[in-house]
Amino acid sequence: MEPRALTERERGWISDILRANDEWQEADISRTQVVAEERGEEGVSFILQAPEPENPKAKSGRESVGNLWIQTADGSSINVQLSQIEGRLRELYVLFVDPKHPERSLPENWTEVSREAANV
């Protein structure tokens, strides 16, 4: 696929997660693009790329920058995982969990009931 800019939804997810992580709060995602996208059995993976590390001061070797948990009106959960390597954001993984319909994949639209970012 051709690299594309982050959508407003993706940018919002990433920003929420970054705010929950002290080390990543000042990260610059203005030039971050999506360079690959793959739908798996349980979620969608967006591979990210930027010309420069979004957080060149990052000291952490931890892959995970953080998680975002979204509860929807129809009783589903959406888990957004943001990962990095050496100060570069690498992947936004969107996991969809509908316990009543395990085979259901991420819908195009949903109604959020709550949203919570965590530094885990």
Partner: protein, 299 residues
Amino acid sequence: MMLPPVRAEVLNWPNRFTGKERDTESGLDYFGARYYGSNMGRFMSPDFTGDGSDPFLVPSADFENPQSLNLYSYVHNNPLTNTDPDGHDCIDTTNFSKDGTVTITAGDSCANNLGPNGTYVNGTINPNTVTANVSASGTTFGYDFTSYDGQSGGSGVIAQAPAYGPLEGPANQAGLQTLSAANNLVTDATIGATIAYGIPMAAIAGGEIAASTAAARSGIIFRLAHGMRIAVGHSQVLAEQGAIKNAIATAIASGAIQKPGGSAFQGVVQVAGTFIRFTGAFTANGVVVSNVMGQALQK
């Protein structure tokens, strides 16, 4: 040649390294939970029970500090600043200055305590409750703590002989001390120097959980098709998925997880000699485990 009386008294005194009692037959120092071999600079058994053949919890794991995953090390291999009151983990006592200031750094990695019922829990020290009592033999610090699961708490005591002898200064004489800003969040997971990205789950052996297992009974929703992966350099089969899920389910059920706030949690278990890190959340629809990573055991 006869030793001077004072010297002989020192040799017969059973309390040795950091004041712990030395077993006269084995030469090992008794730390309550474990024996420490001072000639080898390590404990003789891993922190917590287990030899790597069965799943067990790793409550002292600190994602910031790979040394915390060495279950045989003494105070994360930093005896200059850390002490070990009970053989389980450490509390940093970093600064005994002569100007009257005592600084205790009670980081997460060192905030493991015995709960009120004697159960070993993973928690944090309340910085507002730390007290210090100065006596001729040294200084005793007390503190209150809360476990990460919020279900248990209690108090602990650590005796620490000050580096400069009995503490000086009016602040210390009054039992006053300051506690450095404790970082109560587990903010990092430097499990290995290099974490491979996106290695597929095939590196961890397949196999689902049996009906009679803890994971099956727990009702936990595992969504691991993307998340279950291992660190670079370990392409061999590390653990069986069912065993991993059972260990995680047991950890969640027993509260041996860390919650940085809100519904999300993370934790570490050991399965078949592999440290397994997991993350998840308590959602409206139940517990969801969404990410699992493995790292070979450091011994």
